[in-house]
Amino acid sequence: MHKVLAVLRREFLSRVRTRAFVIGTVLGPLLMGFIVFLPVLLERRQTDARHVVIVDAASGTFGGRVEQRLNGELRDSASGRHRYQVERVVTSPDQIVATRDSLVAMTGLRKAPAGSISGILIVTDTGLAAGRLSYLGTNVGSPSDMNAMERSLTRVVQVERLNRAGVDSAIAFSALRPVDLSTLKVSEGKLTGESGGASFALAYAMSFLLYIALLLYGIQVMSSVVEEKSSRIMEVLVSSLSPFEMLLGKVMGVGSVALLQLGIWAGTAMALTTFRVQLAGLFGVPAAAVGSLPIPAVSPEMFGVFLLFFVLGFFFYSAMYAAVGSMCNSAQETQQAQLPITVFIMAGFFGMFALLSEPAGSLARILSLVPFFAPFITPVRYSFAPLPLIDLLLSVGAMVIGILVVVWIAARIYRVGILSYGKKATFADVARWVRQS
């Protein structure tokens, strides 16, 4: 154990003392803060209303209603800022193309007398009947802009159609008012005060952190094995340490670095969410705007489950990475050899998205018993609703069995691999290494 600790300490210190670790640890929270506050800052930046010109070739009052409707749209209720600045050009159906083209030419002019035009909305009778209007604009790539406009136009068209069928427009308007569903998460018989959006954000953030950390630190274990091989220090180590002691010390050493870094990041994340209103104040962001962000509250149990599954996943995957490292002679060789492991980690990460729609379904339950995927699936399931203890224990048990199997195989590959130089090991070679005593 003394020897394993010596290896552990060496692996830990030689990483923590590097500039890369310090930079990574500091940049992580900065990036997180950036992600949290970026939407708020972007929102503030877009103070200008979109300048939209309506080319109205429709008969009756429809064009006017569209103009009225768009003029009434607000960017957010708190500030009372308008979403659109609207102008209407009345024309006849045979003049649409000409009008449109001259307006399109004007979108390029930044200093046009009327300000730059973001888009042109063409309103015609046929369009109204078919439910097809066309919009030409510089912002058509923005899903949020297009969704907002589609919503507004749908309402106007619906009211207009009812109106023409003889329904009073005031009645039509109030009948068509949409439902705003506000979601709050219930957990363990209590209201959490957390919205559905926040639950998703938490699941996403956790999987992403797990994905990045497992990949990053697994590969560190692998390259450290390759480095020991290529620098030939392996020869000294194998005379004093058993391959298992080396493997254990290395995995635990790198794992402690990962835990330290994740701890710093998680602590920062907690501080950011707790003091987000005060922090946002420093950037001049109003408290109301911050409050609307989907930032989840992380319970201590959730945090514990997250760390537990990180540790389990790390042992599982880094043992495999170490075995791959021992099979290779150089960093270049590992690029290809590590691919199968990386694919499993990616499958686990992307599998999480498939489960978001049904976190308690049978597929989710089965996948939490598969060691390759459990490190991602189980914490995500837990974030939606605390799992029954038995489910949690089964998942942990499956991980532990998986780890024992993987470490056994990895150690057998490792003890041959670390002293084999030159020829690249084939799959058949590796299979023989595992079998031979």
């Binding site: 020897k3 030689s14 004093s240 002293l419 020829k423 290494w433 005593s437």
Partner: protein
């Protein structure tokens, strides 16, 4: 030998392609320098790896300090592998402490010992430099210190002087000789016979995995007899060829160009050889009846072909877990 610190008995190690060590037995007595000699590919490194319990023999037994060899004894052994290597980014002192710790030393103890050794080898000013900042010779010294740090009873050095410049090689050689004088046991392998001849008390020479010669240097030489002649040519070297090829006069020659060492054929006299060489018009600056060198004894036993390593197949070694 009852007090053998290391005993290797009928050890066999086979790899997929060939037998690397074949029925090898040797005893290393406590104290002094013991040479494991042989050309490249003779099985020296494989034998040493088995002694260090890095790999296990297929047959036979290895006993260290009277106990079956195992990695549990590694704290009583010092090991310098043939392939040297250190963590390049680690500081010298930290590195030595780590290597001491995996041999079972406590941190403080390892630190004190490492400092003492660094001072002794003139590296005292380099303790907090990174290993990669050191010259190759200095790195070798650091690694050499690591084999001695924990005061091992048996020091195993695999080709300790290869790859060193002459100054550093001499430094190391002196330390090894001094340790031998202090009563420590040192087993070292080399393919340079002259080196072993100058330094070792006892030698084992192996070729193709098998033992060829075994005993004290003096006994090995005495057994070979004083029938060797050393020659140094000054001119007309080519005229000597016919004389040296005469099997009535010369049993075999270890020819190194301007110098040659030969063993006289049974019944042949040194004077007859000298007469023949002078008669052929060969210029000589040296004609001396000498003790045979280990090199010439070795070649006499196995023939010059033994210097060629066998073709190896897949000789991956399984590390003893």
């Amino acid at each position: 030998m009852a007090d053998a610190i290391l005993r290797v008995e009928n050890v066999v190690k086979r790899f997929a392609g060939h037998t690397a060590v074949n029925n090898l037995s040797l005893d290393v007595p406590r104290g002094g320098l013991f040479g494991l000699l042989g050309p490249n590919g003779a099985g020296k490194t494989t034998t040493i790896r088995m002694i260090m319990s890095i790999i296990l023999p297929d047959e036979g037994r290895i006993t260290l300090f009277g106990e079956p060899a195992s990695r549990a004894l590694s704290s009583r052994l010092g090991f310098l592998p043939e392939e040297r290597g250190l963590y390049k980014k680690m500081e010298v002192l930290e590195h030595l402490i780590f290597l001491g710790e995996i041999k079972g030393l406590g941190r403080a103890d390892a630190r004190a010992r490492a400092r003492r050794w660094l001072d002794r080898l003139g590296l005292g000013a380099w303790t907090s430099h990174k290993v990669e900042d050191l010259s190759k010779g200095m790195q070798q010294k650091v690694q050499f210190i690591s084999t001695l740090l924990h005061d091992p009873e048996l020091v195993v050095l695999d080709e300790p002087f290869s790859g060193l410049d002459p100054v550093n090689a001499l430094d190391m050689k002196n330390i090894v000789i001094e340790m031998g004088r202090e009563g420590r046991t040192i087993l070292f392998s080399t393919h340079i016979m002259e080196q072993a001849e100058q330094m070792c008390d006892r030698v084992v020479i192996i070729a193709r995995g098998e033992k060829v010669l075994d005993g004290t240097v003096a006994a090995v030489k005495a057994e070979a007899g004083n029938r060797n002649v050393a020659l140094t040519f000054t001119r007309n070297r080519e005229r000597a060829r016919a004389v040296l090829a005469d099997r009535a006069l010369v049993a075999h020659v270890d020819d190194s160009g301007t110098m040659a060492e030969l063993e006289l054929a049974p019944g042949a006299e040194a004077e007859a050889l000298l007469t023949a060489l002078v008669g052929a018009g060969v210029g000589l600056s040296r004609f001396e009846v000498v003790e045979p060198s280990l090199q010439s004894i070795f070649i006499a036993r196995v023939g010059p072909g033994a210097a060629v390593a066998p073709a190896s197949g897949d000789d991956r070694e399984v590390i003893h877990a």
